[in-house]
Symmetry: C2
Subunit: 767 residues, 2 copies
């Protein structure tokens, strides 16, 4: 029964949840995609129909509809779920790296994100659904674990700390206890991967993206969970798609057969395309950073709404005016006449071009209008499909105008208060610009058989490399979603060149820059930064450490908790020989939330102040009885399973307020006047004249914290910190005295300082 219920049951529940997450993510992806396609296609048709009555009227209709959609999204975000704004990828990354973001995975955020994404993308703003899908996937995963975590596993009736510390044992045996930090992180990693996989229809790419970019803690188990989740998400998407009318699933590219020889020959041209496109990516980054100061702060909600509407209006205006002025009317290619697939019928947009000549079977379309009014994914498919034969489908002028105006619109839209990602717009700008360059090469070098479609592909990769500084997972996503493995070499060239070019302008990609801009988020990369190479642990640590003794008075604990915001406190033990040296041996680490828990449960010990002084001076090994050993064992389990639960909660000011500090202080005072009243366990000797309330930290502290020596190299400290997912690392000297403590913030600060003082001195250290 236990075999089935405890072990197999939990495993089964986890895998069911994984599959459920995958299915839900797939359904949501389908919902978003369908709504987007439905709304955009309908808008296109409507515009075309109204255009008979006049261009102005159709513009007004289109614009008001778009503004309305953005208004809905904007209001939802600003007044209901503020953390649903933006892409969300950066914050998912930060969460998986170990930073808590309040409200980020709540239900209202999820709903807002889904509705807002549909509205934003359908409005014609240059924002995509890929970033939101990552957030949505993570939020769905988080909610699934919350649902199970909300089942009652722990009641608050047990007063004794002895019984308390045995409880996690039993709680673990419950079948659905998924509410541990590690489990949640695993599920959220999987959800993240599934979100991206569903957005691109690329399961393996989703796993790799999660591995390379999003998830900081990775294991084989997470990989499996992610793969299963991604597979189900894409499978469900494909299934539902095959039942429905939509055909916009990726993977139906029409590259011409390409020999590897041609690819090698074209490499110089690919280099040029990559370099130029990645500069566009750098421009986006710089302009975004510059605009971030100009935008209204999020506290002025009305201003934020006006801004969003204004940007939408500009977008719509550009979409309408530019094709009117610069668009070219072209014939729909023969193999793609409306008799073709459903996608093609809606894709080519006539706009102001002449009506189709039905007798000759010739249809006309405005190429610039088609690029502006269609789904980005359809655009990219057409761009990648551009053959080398002649200037068909899109003219050089239209491609140039589209790529540059889309760039401007994207920069404007990137940062407004609606949900929306930067992934797809960046790809579209890159593809359009790459295609533009490809067309130019084609005209300049008529004998070289340049394929503009391949340049569009290279441009896409180079834009992502230059803008997001992302690397291999993108190669895989692009390869998997849009083409074959044959194109991997140009893609790698694009990624390498674009990263290299962008490196000379910015330190970090858009995600990293965003993370740095958000206060309170310390993102630790997987590799130790080379800025730390000349530092040691002593340089990183903050030496102002607040320590406790093994047995400490309640008054002292309260004073420290009220005046300090630290989360971890080293616990010291005085031995006889240490009195002269000052400070005791480092024997353990106690966390703020553990102290709060002890205070909340009134797990006090009553003790004589003289005895207290005495106990702190001499070793306690003697009375380390069987009972204590049991406690020790129980606490090891406690640390193993329940350590991370309340970590975040305890750092908020409310946690202290909830404690009933007044009551405790009263209890302390009263116990000082009339002894033997409040305590519930050990040593209740009523005849002692004057006692103080104290906490015995020994059974509760982490008795085996990792420590490093002051001489330890900072890079090694970084690796220890990062791989073990630590929050506090105590630095000791050879006498085992605490001389400092290192936290995430210390490392992030040292890294920042090191980067600022980046000078010649460090260059020969590189490799």
């Amino acid at each position: 029964s236990r075999q089935l219920y405890g072990y197999t049951g939990l495993t089964l529940a986890k895998w069911s949840i994984t599959i459920l997450i995958g299915i839900l993510v797939g359904l949501v992806a389908y919902l978003i995609e369908m709504c987007q396609e439905f709304l955009l296609t309908r808008k296109k048709e409507l515009t075309q129909r109204i255009m008979v009555n006049g261009l102005m009227l159709s513009f007004i209709g289109f614009a008001s509809f778009s503004v309305l959609l953005v208004l809905v999204a904007c209001c939802l975000v600003l007044f209901w779920a503020p953390s649903a704004g933006g892409g969300g990828v950066t914050l998912v990354m930060a969460y998986l790296n170990g930073t808590d973001i309040p409200e980020f995975f709540q239900f209202k955020t999820l709903v807002t994100k889904i509705i807002g994404s549909i509205c934003t993308i359908s409005s014609g703003l240059m924002l995509g659904q890929e970033g939101p899908m990552v957030h949505i996937g993570a939020a769905i995963a988080s909610l699934m674990t919350w649902i199970h975590g909300a089942l009652p596993t722990r009641k608050k009736t047990q007063p004794s700390h002895l019984r308390r510390c045995c409880k996690p044992w039993q709680a673990k045996a419950l079948p659905f206890d998924l509410y541990s930090d590690k489990d949640r992180r695993e599920f959220i990693s999987a959800g993240t991967a599934a979100g991206l996989a569903a957005a691109f229809g690329a399961p393996i790419g989703g796993v790799l993206y999660s591995l390379e970019e999003a998830s900081s803690f990775w294991s084989r188990k997470v990989m499996w969970r992610s793969l299963i989740c991604c597979t189900f998400a894409t499978m469900v998407l494909a299934l539902v798609n095959s039942w429905e009318f939509s055909t916009s699933l990726p993977g139906s590219m029409s590259f011409r057969e390409v020999q590897p020889v041609f690819i090698v020959r074209d490499l110089p041209l690919f280099l040029v395309t990559s370099a130029l496109t990645s500069i566009l990516g750098v421009v986006i980054n710089s302009a975004h950073a510059w605009l971030a100061h100009m935008r209204p702060s999020s506290s002025y909600k009305v201003l934020r709404i006006i801004e969003a509407c204004f940007v939408t209006l500009i977008s719509v205006t550009v979409m309408f005016v530019l094709p009117l002025c610069f668009g070219q009317c072209m014939e729909v290619p023969a193999q793609k006449t409306p008799s073709g697939s459903t996608m093609d019928r809606h894709y080519w947009f006539r706009y102001t071009c002449p009506a189709p000549n039905t007798t000759a079977g010739v249809h006309y379309y405005n190429d610039l209008a088609t690029l502006f009014f269609s789904l980005p994914r359809q655009n990219m498919q057409e761009l990648y499909g551009m053959h080398g034969d002649a200037e068909t489908e899109f003219s050089i002028r239209s491609l140039g105008i589209h790529s540059l105006s889309a760039l401007v619109l994207f920069i404007l839209a990137y940062g407004i208060a609606t949900p929306g990602g930067v992934f797809m717009p960046a790809m579209l700008v890159g593809a359009s610009f790459g295609g533009f360059l490809g067309r130019i090469f084609q005209r300049l070098l008529p004998s070289a058989h340049v394929q503009p479609g391949l340049h569009a592909l290279v441009g896409t990769a180079a834009m992502l490399g230059g803008f997001l500084r992302a690397s291999i997972s993108l190669v895989v996503i692009t390869v998997e979603g849009f083409g074959g493995v044959d194109f991997i070499l140009p893609l790698i060239v694009a990624i390498v060149v674009s990263n290299w070019v962008a490196y000379h302008f910015h330190d970090a990609g858009a995600y990293e820059a965003d993370l740095e801009r958000i206060a309170g988020v310390c993102f630790l990369q997987s590799e130790p930064p080379r800025e730390l190479i000349a530092f040691s642990a002593a340089d990183l640590m903050s030496s102002n450490v607040v320590c406790f003794h093994e047995v400490v008075t309640v008054a002292e604990v309260l004073k420290v908790l009220q005046t300090r915001r630290h989360n971890g406190f080293p616990v010291l033990r005085h031995t006889h020989s240490d009195t002269s040296n000052g400070g005791g041996k480092f024997v353990g680490l106690i966390l703020r939330h553990q102290l709060l828990l002890l205070l909340e449960e009134r797990a006090f010990v009553e003790i004589d102040p003289q005895v207290l002084l005495h106990t702190q001076k001499y070793a306690w090994e003697n009375n380390f009885s069987t009972n204590m050993q049991f406690l020790d064992h129980a606490m090891r389990i406690y640390h193993h399973f329940h350590y991370p639960h309340h970590r975040y909660l305890s750092s908020r000011p409310e946690a202290l307020a909830d404690l009933g500090v007044d009551e405790i202080v009263g209890a302390v005072n009263s116990s000082n006047s009339k002894p033997g009243n409040v305590s519930d366990d050990i040593n209740t000797t009523a005849d002692a004249p004057k006692k103080v309330l104290a906490l015995d930290l020994r059974p509760f502290m982490n008795r085996a914290p990792i420590t490093v020596r002051r001489e330890c190299s900072a890079q090694r400290v970084y690796i220890i910190f990062r791989t073990l997912g630590l929050r506090h690392l105590c630095v000791t000297d050879s006498h085992n005295k605490v001389i400092g403590i290192i936290t995430r913030k210390d490392i992030a600060m040292a890294q920042k300082q090191g980067r600022l003082s980046k000078d010649k001195r460090f260059q020969h250290w590189d490799s």
Copy 2:
């Protein structure tokens, strides 16, 4: 200049070497493939031609040719490069996990492996080239770094240890210093990936394989290096292939269009196929383990040769006799007549079937003979291409006989003394068996539209899952090399089911079992084994620790080095207060090779025995002068760069013999009689009456070794050990006294013990 030479030059050199490795691996892969195809095709044609003169004659010719090839491979391995035998994947894994294997990456091993693989595979033995390609890729990568490491970077003329420890500084500035352990490991990881990528034509699969299976230490840099290397390997292979006649490059599969709906409907059948096929994998593992005891030991070289020849003879006999008895003559399918591609012309093997009816354009082939005599890859392509229409191409009987006899031949061949991998034969057996089951389902359920080709694919994955216990990378390789992403769900089902089934029979896959069988290899998996969950550091450690003091007499060092085989020694410092407790503070770690180096360089300090006793009693902080601080800094750099170089060398007995122990003992004795003779640096005071030679370990020891407390959980110890790539981890108590030391062997032993005593107690810990 330094910018160009030091930093950029090194980076450039590294990338050039990466690309060079990729190109070389691609060329070698092409060489092996071409030779194999050439020899096999020629053998087939020859057999067909001789067959006119009689079956017996052609059998004798075929058999003698095969035995000759195996004889060459066998002799090369046994008499020249013993470590080239077998697949090599396990040992590459062990190397990348941190175990040194002598001669494994030498030039003669590489040559033997290449020639031996060609011979073995062409002989018709059931062995593949994928495992050897992994070894060859790793060996090429290793040789490339050795070539640069062999450039003179360090001369032996400097006598003083003061100058010595500054040298690594300058050595680092040399442009081509790639001879550090970390760099080598990176390149070997990349080479491993490239080997597999070239063997399968799947660059991303190669990277994933290296990440998941082979490489224990992984970073973004390694990922990039591997991807570039893989890309170049496959690109070169594709380029050369497109120039030459060979067309056996994978990726040209002909699956029928499959709707996801069908796949979901067929899932139960896939489950059956997976389960049954994975049992075959289990059978291979068990039979191999059982046969391993029966085979002659590798010291009886003649017996080994006879064994190999015997197995070859059996294989050839089976290949000839079975098609004769059970093969069916079938018509070559219409779309695959000899007028088709080059592959098809050679593929279908007539054997004893009637001559082609050229007027009707009908050609005949023996299906079982075709399966036995063709390249495994071609077989698999045809098996995967089996449509659901009717029983064409291969009959049920032939598939059944082929899969089972191939299984037996594979078991026999797996373990003989020639190079050859188990990857491709296992895949072939799985594909054949899966196809067999698919054909049966097709006959039993005529209305279900079963596709035997899909079952062959599932069988392949299930065999790999059951036999090698490999997982995601294999999905990717199979998907990438042979089909589209559409088949990912059946593949995942196959992998999950087969791993689950195999788990109930064996603890580990073939690679892991092989690793356990090889003595002296402690392979640490990436996840902490759950057997360790109830242990603490105190349970793992060996408490019998040999320690040194900070200043130690040469005689003592020599005695310890001669009597103990340990590689790391904690260094202690006595302070005044510790005299009563016994043992001193733990202040550093000195390695065996460092001690050997110090002895070799005669970096002695002459010291009064009384002073020595005295210095050990009191703290040395006072005379920690600027000079010492400089030394300290220099040693930190020394540890950073040159720490791993001589690690392996020092553990061999010759290292101590090379030292000139007699000479040192003589020096010690002579210095005891007439002082002030041998020392070269500090404190040469001729008037001291009686002095001893001592080593001052302080500037050379690792002053910041990682330590853990005895209470630390064993799983955390495992994680620290594994992620930081440690070899010695000292366990301390709260007084900073060394109470034990943990090495790789200790962890592996605890793991083994834990696995043996796997009982009910641990089951509720699982998740």
